[in-house]
Symmetry: C2
């Protein structure tokens, strides 16, 4: 195996949005979210998915998005990303100084319909307008394709279909094309297979991977994708976030565990891992739990000089 050394990794921490969106303890105080985002930025997280600009009726736990952004200071807000569901969400995000948005599209019609009540083609048709509108305003647009390894309604997803959708999204001008293992069923072999197909149609520097640790393979999948040439990843501080399709299960792969693994493989991750762990420990305390699902924030960085 060849070991790429010194390759830069752009990690997006999705804890404030994707991680807390399903927090079973109910709404998280705005102050906790703001402190989390500020802590992640201070620890060097290249990007932070801070909020979702969605209808408060659809996702009540994200209703304080305007307050969160207001607390983070006047825009423009570099290094922050906002999830938007539609053109109206883009407007809301631009008004608040957001400079990078994320749109998700299901890889299957069944998933997309349950999520946004339309088939994949209709979502893609709308996507063109979002990309044009965002770019006209100087805003980056990341597009993530959900359930690419498996769908809770349709089962296994054809990698050829995923690659074809990725190609179309790249052609539409998305700045980043992401493939997301939304329900956490990918294995390293499947990651290698899918990436070989997707990397034939999406430039490596625009490709991103979003893994979940639902079945314990999250970090292994991150390393597999890194060795395949991927340099952009999502994950959450402390591995916070669940899986709506598997109660009590873990969701997003843990950022700091993954970043430790990537750094050990020679990647330039650009974060202060000790500070990152402190952010996760503080988040756990703020949420009133002993520890989050991730591992490193509990054990701490090991220093051979001071074992």
């Amino acid at each position: 195996m060849s070991i790429p050394g010194g390759r830069r990794v752009i990690w997006t921490d999705v804890a404030p949005r994707d991680g807390l969106q399903s927090w079973p303890g109910g709404p998280v105080p705005t102050g906790v979210k703001v402190r989390l985002i500020e802590g992640l930025l201070a620890a060097g997280a290249p990007r932070v998915e801070a909020v979702a600009m969605v209808s408060p009726r659809a996702v009540p736990l994200m209703a304080d998005a305007p307050l969160v952004l207001e607390a983070l200071g006047p825009g423009p807000l570099p290094r922050l990303r906002a999830l938007i569901p539609n053109p109206r969400g883009l407007e809301r995000a631009l008004e608040r100084g957001i400079t990078e948005v994320l749109v998700t599209v299901g890889a299957t019609d069944a998933f997309n319909r349950r999520n946004v009540n339309r088939d994949v083609e209709r979502s893609l048709a709308e996507l063109g307008g979002i990309v044009t509108g965002a770019h006209a305003a100087g805003c980056r647009v990341d597009v993530a394709l959900s359930v690419v390894f498996g769908c809770p309604y349709e089962g296994r997803v054809d990698p050829g279909r995923v690659a074809a959708l990725c190609a179309r999204i790249a052609e539409m001008g998305a700045d980043e094309v992401g493939v997301a293992d939304t329900i956490g069923v990918a294995t390293p072999a499947q990651v290698r297979d899918l990436l070989a197909r997707v990397m034939a149609v999406v430039p490596a520097d625009r490709l991103s991977c979003h893994f979940h640790d639902t079945r314990g393979l999250g970090v292994a999948n991150v390393l597999t994708a890194f060795h395949a040439g991927v340099g952009r990843f999502d994950g959450s501080a402390g591995g916070i976030g669940g899986c709506p399709f598997a109660p009590r299960s873990t969701g997003n792969v843990c950022s700091e565990d993954s970043l430790l693994a990537l750094a050990a493989e020679g990647a330039e991750v650009g974060v202060d891992l000790a500070a990152y762990c402190e952010v996760s420990r503080r988040l756990a305390a703020d949420l009133g739990v002993d520890a989050l699902p991730g591992r490193l924030h509990r054990a701490g960085i090991w220093d051979p000089a001071q074992p």
Copy 2:
């Protein structure tokens, strides 16, 4: 990367011994241990580390070892392994029908002294007698070298020293030579480096790896070792077990999460993963906790045909 296909993996589940030895809830009822061992055997675990034949004064939580073995029926007891600390432990194990024992030796003098109150050379000197005595009785002897990637007292451990110790242990006739990341500090790069040295002096079919998931890299390290040619591993059902050097941290890598990953990489693991998950869920219930640290037993095996 070359992907070996169909290679047999011999997994030893150490949950009943290593996993429960440090259970913070105190002594685990003998019946729970017996049910766990029987469940693991029924799920197809190739081997189960069932008990430690140690002084009840030294390890009170293992004081019921004779009762556990009695409940498992008259010997000989194939597929079960017992940890023994010394020749007296071997006698106790042989009396109970045990056909495979494990002896651990620290890779550093400081660790070995804290553990068994003697330096590594004195442990190795005693090991010769144990191997001879066990083999004369038709009993296999596995020897695991602890803290090979890092020692809580001496820091980083020289891989050359580890390889030299492994060579001596192999020459002494140990049936299996194990390298153990006792405090969970190994990274895939270090695993590759150490194994390259150890595999030059220990035949691959006698080499075993024992990883901890203390910092989230457990499954990734298992896969790295597998791709390096290792076919024998330790781990625990549900990832049960802690790390005495990092309170609240996870210890042993989770068996079923690792076995899923290995099977997906083409290994023949020989277990019923769904039954394995059920064993972990039952253990969690028996211990009165919602879930164990591992992931797969919470989410369950994903069936693409019945998503």
